[in-house]
Subunit: 279 residues, 2 copies
C-alpha cells in the first residue's frame, strides 16, 4: 500500500481500530498497510491510546510476543456514563409515556439507534472482562440493545423466538411463567444457534420480576450453556425483593413508580455503577 | 477544554465524526473543544476528508455560512462493497443452510452485528440523498439491519409488530397476503410511532414476492406516509417478474436457486450496483 504521512496514518488507524473493537490486530498489519516501520506504528498507537484514554473512549491494549498486537477495548468513562444515564432517566420520566394499565411507552427510545448504541457501549464497558462467547436476547424489544452490545464486544447475537419458525430448523422449546402476570408462555431456540458449553450474556430492554430472563436461563441449561451476565436497560423497582427471581444483573435505569392517576413517573439510575465498582 | 496537539486533535476529531454520521457539526464546536483557531480546524478537516475519501469511508461535506459546519456522510467505496457482497454470497451458498421444505437458515449471519453493520453502511451509501425521515421494518429478522442502517443515516427506526402489544398504546392494524404462501396475516403499528407525511425507508432481511413489504406500504398509507425506498438483504430470484408485487427496491444478494435434493444453493449479487449507478 502507499505510504501515508503520520497525520493521515493517525486518522486511518483511528477509524480502523474504532470499527474493530475487541479484535486483536498484529502490528505487522499496520506496518504493511502503511509501509511504515513498526517503531513508527508504535509511536502512532501511543498517541491514539492517550487520546482514547483521556476522552473516555476506551483502552488500547498492547499484547507482546509473536501472537501479539493491539486491541481496542471500548470503555465509556464514568462522567460520560453518568451523563448518559441521567439523560435516559430524563427521557423515561416524561409523563406522556403512561399508557392505560400503568404500562410505559418506550418504543420511541428503543427506536433510536444512537441511543441503543450508547447503551450497548455501557454494557460493553461493564462486561469487558467476563469471557463471553455470545449475547442472547428474546424477541422483540431487546434486539437493538443486544446487537449494540454485541457489536462493541465483537460477539454474535443469538435470538430466542416466541414461536418455532420454519426458517430456524430443529429447535428446543421451554415453557416459562412471566412473573408479572403469572401467565404461561413458550420460548424456543434453534438447535443450530448455540454451541454446547457457551458462556452467554443475556440482554433485554425491561425486567420486572425477571420471569422472562429466568426462562432464558432455563433454556441455556438445555444447551449446557452458562450465564456470564445479565444486562437490562430498565428494571422495575416496584417488585419486592423476595418476588424477584434474579438478583445478579446490571441495569441502567430503575422505574421506581408509575402513577397513572396523577400521571407521574419516577425514574432513577439503575445499579450500573455499583456493579462496575465491584469488578 | 485543554489544548491538544494536531496529532491528538486528528485522532479525537476522527472518532467524534465517525460516531456522528449525518450530524451537522459547526466548526466552532471543534474550535472551542480544542482551543484551536478555526483555520487550524479547517486544515485538520481537510486531512481527515482526504483519508476518508481515499479509504472509501465516506465524504466530509463542508457547508458554508452562519448555519454551516461539517457533516460526515458514510459511504462504502465500490471495491469494498463488491468485496462485502461477494463475501455475503459465499456465506449464503453454504449447502448446510438448506432446511426441510427448501428454506434457508440465515439466523447465524443475521446474528453477526458487524456483518449487519457493514450491510447497513451499504444501504446508507445508496440511500444517502433520499430525504428520509424514518426507517421501518417488521419484526423480527430485519430488525438488526434496520438499526444498522438507521445508525449510519442518523434516523430513528419504527417497528411494525405482528400482534398488538399492550405497551404500544393505540395502534393501526391491517391484513396482508403473504405472496409465497397466499396466507393472510396481520401487522400493526402504534399510532405514536409514525408522524403523518413521513418519508420512510423500508428495510427487511428477505423478500420473495414482496407481500410483507407491500403490507408495510399499505400500512404507511394509513399514516399518510410515503415510501422513500426499499432495501432488502436477500431477494429470492425464484419469482416470476409478473408475480412480484414490488419492483423498485435495492437488494444485496439474490438467491437464484435452492435445490434440497442435490443440496445446492446458488447465490448471486443483488441489484445494488445497478441502483447505485442510477442515482
Amino acid at each position: 500500500m502507499k505510504k501515508l504521512k503520520r497525520s493521515a496514518r493517525l486518522v486511518e488507524m483511528t477509524q480502523y481500530l474504532l470499527l474493530r473493537p475487541h479484535h486483536l490486530i498484529p502490528l505487522t498489519t499496520f506496518a504493511e498497510r502503511y509501509g511504515a516501520a513498526k517503531s513508527s506504528i508504535s509511536e502512532d498507537l501511543s498517541i491514539i491510546k492517550e487520546v482514547f484514554e483521556e476522552e473516555g473512549m476506551g483502552d488500547l491494549l498492547t499484547l507482546a510476543g509473536a501472537a501479539g498486537g493491539v486491541k481496542f477495548i471500548p470503555k465509556v468513562g464514568e462522567t460520560q456514563a453518568r451523563e448518559f444515564i441521567d439523560q435516559l432517566c430524563g427521557m423515561l420520566s416524561d409523563r406522556n409515556r403512561i399508557l392505560p394499565g400503568g404500562y410505559l411507552y418506550m418504543s420511541d427510545l428503543l427506536g433510536l439507534p444512537n441511543l441503543m448504541n450508547e447503551a450497548g457501549r455501557l454494557f460493553a464497558t461493564v462486561f469487558a472482562n467476563q469471557n463471553i462467547d455470545v449475547i442472547m436476547t428474546v424477541e422483540t424489544k431487546g434486539i437493538p440493545l443486544a446487537y449494540a452490545t454485541g457489536a462493541q464486544l465483537n460477539l454474535p447475537v443469538v435470538l430466542v423466538r416466541r414461536d418455532h419458525q420454519v426458517t430456524e430448523g430443529s429447535a428446543v422449546s421451554i415453557n416459562y411463567v412471566s412473573g408479572s402476570h403469572k401467565s404461561l408462555h413458550t420460548m424456543t431456540l434453534s438447535r443450530r444457534a448455540l454451541k454446547e458449553n457457551s458462556r452467554v450474556l443475556i440482554v433485554d430492554d425491561f425486567m420486572k420480576a425477571g420471569g422472562t430472563i429466568q426462562g432464558m436461563v432455563d433454556l441455556l441449561a438445555e444447551f449446557n450453556a452458562t450465564v456470564a451476565g445479565v444486562g437490562v436497560l430498565v428494571e422495575s423497582g416496584e417488585v419486592e425483593s423476595e418476588q424477584r427471581l434474579l438478583h445478579d444483573y446490571v441495569s441502567l435505569a430503575t422505574l421506581t413508580a408509575v402513577d397513572p392517576k396523577v400521571k407521574e413517573i419516577v425514574v432513577q439510575p439503575g445499579n450500573y455503577f455499583s456493579k462496575f465498582d465491584a469488578k
